[in-house]
């Protein structure tokens, strides 16, 4: 399992791996927002957390369709599935998700504080948004794994994955953004939405790989 993690992480970092694409997309989205919204610093600060979350959500969805498709295209997926008595397929999927998150999504979380400055956010708001991204983005990857597994046999499933996955990630977005606002706006709570966000991630770390493994098993034609 460690070997699988290392292999997928290496593939993400090597040329054409797509780890950089997500972060460039994230940067582009956030850099464009101030031009669209205008030079109203107060407004930018107010929508900052939401913009970071939407940017991170879309950037995360960007590379998800290749999660299993790359393995299917070169025949590796067959062998991963055949080894399911040795390594439970659910666990294999979980490890692949973790590797994908570490290489493609963790850099987005690391870049979020810097991009928060673009949005004129307060330090507390930046810290809160980064923390919620750290806790919430694994859920997006894990939900996305289900979509990626369902669309694995489709030749151009990329957009389809996003369309399948996007509605399911709305709760993550809602609680992530409301926890970020809870940290700066006084009457709004921080802890309650933050804990729910953590619960969503834990919930999907069980359900996501299980559902994705079931979809992969029935896709081997």
């Amino acid at each position: 399992m460690g070997a699988l993690f290392i292999r997928d992480a290496r593939l993400g970092l090597r040329a054409g791996g797509g780890a950089l694409v997500g972060i460039l997309f994230f940067l582009a989205v956030i850099a464009v927002v101030p031009f669209g919204v205008g030079p109203d610093l107060k407004l930018l600060a107010r929508i900052g957390a939401a913009m970071l979350w939407i940017g991170a959500l879309l950037a995360t969805l960007l590379g998800l369709d290749r999660l299993f498709q790359a393995d299917r295209d070169d025949g590796s997926l067959d062998i991963l599935i055949m080894a399911s008595d040795r390594h439970m397929l659910t666990l294999t999927v979980l490890v692949k998700c973790l590797a994908h998150w570490t290489v493609s999504v963790l850099p987005l979380v690391v870049a979020a504080p810097l991009l928060g400055l673009f949005m004129n956010m307060e330090p507390v708001a930046i810290a809160a948004t980064t923390l919620t991204l750290l806790v919430g983005t694994p859920a997006i990857t894990l939900i996305g794994a289900v979509g990626a597994a369902v669309a694995v046999s489709l030749p151009r499933g990329g957009l389809l994955v996003s369309v399948i996955v996007l509605p399911l990630t709305i709760p993550v977005l809602i609680f992530g953004v409301s926890a970020s606002y809870g940290a700066i706006e006084d009457p709004a709570p921080f802890l309650a939405p933050f804990l729910i966000l953590g619960a969503i991630t834990l919930f999907f770390s069980v359900l996501g790989p299980w559902a994705a493994a079931a979809a992969l098993k029935s896709s081997t034609d």
Binding site: G2, A3, L4, I6, R7, R10, L11, R14, A15, G16, G17, D73, D74, G75, S76, D78, I79, L80, I81, M82, A83, S84, D85, R86, H87, T220, D221
Partner: protein, 202 residues
């Protein structure tokens, strides 16, 4: 140990390809599955690997060691695709499959020497020629131990020397008590092999 098929039927896209297939492959035996294109050779192998469900009947391994739960987990599968990542080097690819599928009798370096690729193990897999890629995926069969080899057109793209070499690997595997089931159009150079010819299903 023997691989037994009982009244095995396979279908693809709702169309019955073969039906009522009975055969037994004992330890040390090879079964060559032949027949025209589209007759169901690959489907039969994928059913054996557990990647497809048989339409009827069953295929199982009798007298296997407790190490393997099913036929699929006791098998190496070499399909049309090589199951290697073009961006990783040959050694990285093989090390990964070895640690994922279980460490066998041979080291990665030894397996690469056997297929004659030891001096280019540091190259990314994507740089290799078709025949070299095939030899690399044959090395994957050598780095982990499995009693059953399921081979789908294993010699596609190989030159004469590599074919002979691969035939030696298969004979060594059979002499070890292994089982080989191969779909092929070409003779694989195995002296004691049986042939199963799939015909048109009526």
């Amino acid at each position: 140990m023997q691989l037994v098929a009982e009244r095995l039927s396979g279908e693809r896209g709702g169309e019955m390809l073969f039906s009522g297939l009975n055969f037994t492959i004992r330890s040390g035996e090879a079964l060559l599955v032949t027949g025209p294109n589209g007759i169901g050779k690959s489907t039969l192998l994928r059913i054996a690997a557990g990647l497809l469900r048989p339409a009827e009947g069953a295929l199982h391994l009798e007298g296997k060691s407790a190490e393997y739960d099913s036929l699929g987990s006791a098998s190496h599968f070499l399909g049309h695709l090589n199951a290697m990542k073009p961006a990783l080097t040959l050694e990285e690819n093989l090390h990964f499959w070895q640690s994922f599928c279980g460490i066998g009798k041979r080291t990665v370096l030894h397996a690469l020497e056997m297929v004659g690729l030891a001096d280019i193990g540091h190259l990314p897999f994507g740089y290799l020629s078709t025949g070299q890629k095939r030899r690399a995926s044959i090395a994957r069969l050598l780095v982990s131990d499995r009693p059953v080899w399921l081979l789908d057109e294993p010699t596609a793209g190989l030159d004469k020397d590599s074919e002979a070499q691969f035939s030696e690997f298969m004979q060594a595997h059979l002499a070890d008590g292994g089982i080989v089931m191969a779909a092929t159009h070409l003779p694989l150079g195995l002296p004691h092999s049986r042939e199963l010819t799939l015909g048109a299903f009526v």
